[in-house]
Symmetry: D2
Subunit: 275 residues, 4 copies
Amino acid sequence: MKHPNNPIGICSWTLGLDHDPAALAAECADLGLDGLQYSGDHRAGPTAAEIRRALDDHGLKLLGLDPYYGASAEPAQTSREGAIDYYRRVIDFAAELECPRVALQGLGSWVRHETDADTARARLVEYCNTLGTHAHDAGMDLVYEAINRYESPVVRTAAAARRLRDDVTEAKLGLVLDSFHMNIEETDPEDALETHGDALAGYHIADSNRGGIGVGHIDFGAQRRVLDRIGFAGPIMIEIVLPENGPATPPVDDDQWAALRRQVRYSLDFWRMNG
Amino acid sequence: MKHPNNPIGICSWTLGLDHDPAALAAECADLGLDGLQYSGDHRAGPTAAEIRRALDDHGLKLLGLDPYYGASAEPAQTSREGAIDYYRRVIDFAAELECPRVALQGLGSWVRHETDADTARARLVEYCNTLGTHAHDAGMDLVYEAINRYESPVVRTAAAARRLRDDVTEAKLGLVLDSFHMNIEETDPEDALETHGDALAGYHIADSNRGGIGVGHIDFGAQRRVLDRIGFAGPIMIEIVLPENGPATPPVDDDQWAALRRQVRYSLDFWRMNG
Amino acid sequence: MKHPNNPIGICSWTLGLDHDPAALAAECADLGLDGLQYSGDHRAGPTAAEIRRALDDHGLKLLGLDPYYGASAEPAQTSREGAIDYYRRVIDFAAELECPRVALQGLGSWVRHETDADTARARLVEYCNTLGTHAHDAGMDLVYEAINRYESPVVRTAAAARRLRDDVTEAKLGLVLDSFHMNIEETDPEDALETHGDALAGYHIADSNRGGIGVGHIDFGAQRRVLDRIGFAGPIMIEIVLPENGPATPPVDDDQWAALRRQVRYSLDFWRMNG
Amino acid sequence: MKHPNNPIGICSWTLGLDHDPAALAAECADLGLDGLQYSGDHRAGPTAAEIRRALDDHGLKLLGLDPYYGASAEPAQTSREGAIDYYRRVIDFAAELECPRVALQGLGSWVRHETDADTARARLVEYCNTLGTHAHDAGMDLVYEAINRYESPVVRTAAAARRLRDDVTEAKLGLVLDSFHMNIEETDPEDALETHGDALAGYHIADSNRGGIGVGHIDFGAQRRVLDRIGFAGPIMIEIVLPENGPATPPVDDDQWAALRRQVRYSLDFWRMNG
């Protein structure tokens, strides 16, 4: 079976270099990646032009925008207007970056403080519809990633993300599934990939302890076989955190940089060679 | 191979009944459990006498005390004195309850705000030593559970818990390993159980999505075989949260109660019958 | 997800009662099965009428015919004429039994002595084509099971069975996949079920050591989820041999009968209840 | 955890070169192996001196002798005298080869025709005792490998091999466990390795379909972790058959030689690098 030539990138936040596009792009090129999903936003410092230039200098693809800083922790700030306004600007920023897609699951944190799950979900659908119209005008695709219970109050499984996709009428949300999150939330990750393969728009790689392939216990061979079989051709993102740095700290010293690079490279090799 | 007759209980917080010992004990007895690990503390409402009486009325064993409310979220409140004072009272409360052991991993949240991991860990060792002396005087055993990255800033793997045990000189900390946490943190959960089996003082059951056995993808047969082989005779605690309620919400309506009870009973049957 | 109401039977040879249809049918009914795949042939003793009556007496379905005695061990006897003649009679016997299908993988033993694999395979295709015409006239479906290397010299994987199906023009061979054989021959049994699901006509249950579900290490939950997802509605056959009796000895004393019955019943419960 | 420096060899029969020691040794050296287990016997052609010289020329260790041709298929030939006489010569031949150990599981085929399992097993114990005395005089170690149901009528699991070891008084039989056979016979291969680790004298590598590591579905990382943990320092043998050649055919053309070599090298790398 031949594996489609998926572009393979990295979630930029795992490198902690979002503030320095030149360093970020140099690192990604050096790691042998095809591109990246940018985790900064319009407020993060670098301008779209600076980011674009850094990527072009290294021949890297911008595969998506998923603003890591999007969530607002303060209940008082999580207004409908705040959510819509923030993500409209994210979509505009993505358009300026000539980025093909924006990830919306950060919206989960903007409904965290709703009194019950049904209200939270109804709000989420409404936000996605409103943003869907805006994204359509901007020619931007929208995706939604199912993330684990500790990182999102809603939409944690592939089935929940599928229901959200079904309920949102103003956009065709693509689903993103992530091996690390699926290990926590799915009864059967391969089953989730297969069942929702027709709506799958992205796949993220991290082992069960968020290290690179082989550092934990996920059967990546099995997940890869499902993706091959369903002919998944979308972007694949490596999203590794050294297990000792969990949940979300980039490398802090030279040893950790060496370890992270080794894990990224091995994961990339594993994925490309098992074709 | 014969399975030792481990007492099997439940972590009481999963039922949301810590405030009502009579209801809690009735529920545990009805579920067919041998006992429970109490998650309330001295401030939670019921007195030691009320709790003791409820347990005795139903012939239940008190298998441990692990105060769910122990953590302090406010950095300003996480003083050394606050930590020591709180856990000394917990130990005294456990003694009053005639409870054999207290779990200390809640201390993790009291060192969360240290500036670096080494300082946090040194503090933790010092706290455990100080409390070890107090526990020794009270005839109380101390245990420490490795819990996942989202629930503790330190000591997330069996190996880290083992190092803590080695560093603490004033108490012989027993290790507690939990199938749900191990699925996230351990490269190989069976290997962790086997390697640290000599120090193992407790085992907690929850599937990969924190549901009952079979709701996720953990191989409980394999973990049970390791525990059998090493002759583990300590208490086993069922600690189930309905996946849709994750991370930590007890059942909210009759349907959820029915589902949780079914999952607890199936888990109990699975464990006892595969003996 | 709802599981289709697959008829569940047993491969009769595992009970050693093919010579006594009344005892065989009584046993199957007592085990709670819907029916059976008969492993005797026209030479085995009981007449079609005797077998039919026994099945009808207990309301059992005849789900297929797979003559266990079909293979000829003697090279001198494995002529083309011998093979065709034998299986034509098997098909006629099945028609007399009002049985809906005949399994052809026993043909493998009739090409065992060919000098090379290509010749053996070409012969097999030719035999299947010839028998396909005969089966068509008799209104009989033909199936082919991929069986492990020790039991067949050819067509051991799902992919090989699929190629055979593609090459045979005079019949639409249904594929039968068996969990025990797949554990030996397939890189990824779930992948095999999924990939060839559109041609799947039967599924056999035995654990990795040919005991009942749970006696070995096969993940039957995962296989069941694939069958559910692809909507497999065909017959499922339990084909258990006590591991101490491997490869193929039916129970020899009361203790073994008790053990086999327990394993059949547990397997049946597991399959039906996880619906 | 550090992996002991196990010598890694190959079971020579998988290469089909037992008749040509010079070619065999050259191949093994080229594959990067430390040595081999020879599968020829005293009747196979090459003399001990020829074999010894070929090994010395390439600096290879002779890790054991397990005569592939030892079994006698004809009931009439399987006399007690035949068995004892054959294996005495094998032991003498091993001594002449300065080989440290002889594998006895081929004896299984010499008791195949006993009327019942108890008699077969009693015979086996008696043969092992008689040969144990002879081996002791020759300074030769004896080992016994648990092999699957299709290859041996008796002693197919680690537990059965352990009982045999316990019953044999005139030799301390070392146990050999093989990943391919365990996948068929053991409920839990890691459990078998761990439980019988104290008696383990050898470990064989082949994936579930007898291909190299990664070609099937065995979790070699898990098995390796058990061997590391128990400090297994004995010889490890790679015993690969291309799945399309199963059960036991060496490569037949250049493509197959290339495939087999690739699988051997990858297996060797996997094992050594995951140290």
